[in-house]
Amino acid sequence: MINERYSPAALPALVKDDRVHRDLFVDPQVFDLEMANIYHRTWVYVGHESEIRNPGDFKTTTIGTEPVILSRDTDGDLHVMVNACRHRGVTLCEEAGGNQKFFVCAYHGWVFDSAGSLVNVPEVEGQPPEFSPAEFGLTQAAKVDSYRGFIFASFNEKVPPLVDHLGEAAKFIAMFADLSPSGSVDVSSGVTRYQYEGNWKQQVENSMDGYHAAITHHSFFDEVLQARIGRSMASIVSGSSPAKSVALGNGHSLIDFRDFDRKAILGADQPKSEVDWHNGVRANLEDQDYAEEVIRVNGGDGFNLLVYPNLVLINNQIRVIQPVANNHTEVLAYPALLEQVDEEINVARVRAHEDFYGPASFGAPDDIEMFKRQWQGLSRSPSMQWLLYNRGLHREERGEGERYSSQVTDETAHRGIWRRWVELMTAEVQA
């Protein structure tokens, strides 16, 4: 039976303006409710179009804990199908990706096509006469849609249209894609994966945390960069930085570095490959003011975008957060390559990924260490009931709609994330 504390009426008491109860991280029952009310209710990122360009291409991923196949059928249409045979639930597809017209169950040989239809049942005369294969196609997400190459799916028939869900986040997804002179990034250079003992919300929050960077990443921002570029970059995440913590609404949020003048620090000299790239961006976009806005993002110090609940665009990286259990999280990190640029631009993007996001990099391992220590402290300390999310409450500014903005070391983004969490966890039907 569900703990009465987590009922729609009682739950908001565990999420206050300035604090959140620890049980929302550590109680497995909350995790199960999140899978139903968040991951099966709203839109979840499942993959990028460049990963499944051709008819028959597929990749396997998850929506919450549910394994799914993202497939482009032979007509070119996208499907997100539960990766379990309709007969007895056996996993249909063991591969991470590939191209095939049919998915054949290895147990009893049921065959499904790339659109999920059941097209063959061995010894079919053993099925009762009323058996209708049309009723036993793969279970599919109710909605699949993509925005600028980013594919999302939802199990909720009544979910609002994807563009409404993305809202303010759409503009930043577009900017991330428009950094590529073709207008689309390419996700074909592989992936690095990590997992940690801890809750998925830790990675969500960390991705939007400007406050930790100068401390957790001190050895990189202060020490390595001192040697590499002759100065510390800690000021970009200091209390006097013009960068911002922004809640965009619907849980989407931003660390916005665009007001930080990177060129003033690093110099404005550009290699030819970068000049050509930026000219390619200008040539691709009609609105030249927008083109300059995109170029300022420059794949470096532009913004970190969270598309709630499971997608983060951060520098060159597409980060996908996959909850496994309340105390187990997997994260996939893909470098996003650009199209129609000199090869050296993309090589630099791959190397930048290894520099900060790989398992032996100068960034991610220190974050993951904090996730572990946070879990060790949080999960074993019931006497410490509340986690604080109060930074900047006194100085954040509310913009239009659900937009809030404050200084980069504030927790404005986090409060937006928790407002959305409460909304989804207490909603009756839609969203």
Binding site: A96, S189, G190, V191, T192, R193, Y194, Q195, Y196, I215, T216, H218, S219, F220, E223, V224, A227, R228, E330, Y334, P335, E343, V347, V350, R351, H353, E354, D355, G358, P359, A360, F362, P365, D366, I368, E369, M370, K372
Partner: protein, 157 residues
Amino acid sequence: MNPETRQQIEDFLYTEARLLDQRDYEQWVALFAEDGIYWVPAGDEADPNESVALIYDNKKRLEERLIRIGSNRFWAQQPVTQTCRIVGNVVATEAAGDEIEVRSRLIMTVLRRDRKELLSGVCDFRLRQEGDGYLIVNKTVRLIEREQHFDNLTFLI
């Protein structure tokens, strides 16, 4: 390989592994040539420019690692990871001029806090003769676990 060269190469590989086990990273980085590359692929790729790797370091980046190792805020190595490596099945695969290519197998136990893991793989070294010894021009480690999740390889393979 003549027995004398074999002995030299094996001694070199054992030393290389021992320096990592002892976390003597300064001496370990010094084994790399100025144009040396240290590569731990994340898949089966042949071209590190087309695919993201678990690790892809040139000498400059190897030296930057020493800054982090010397830092008192290198959290991912507090506590340190303890490792114990066995290097074996050493074969020379190619020799040309002053360079030799050597393949070996690696099995290592990895211990951090209370978690113990086993990593295994094939190491390909390209070594350049330098005076009495060798410098590493390329070290590539293809772990059998390379497509798994990793949370921390900062101890280096």
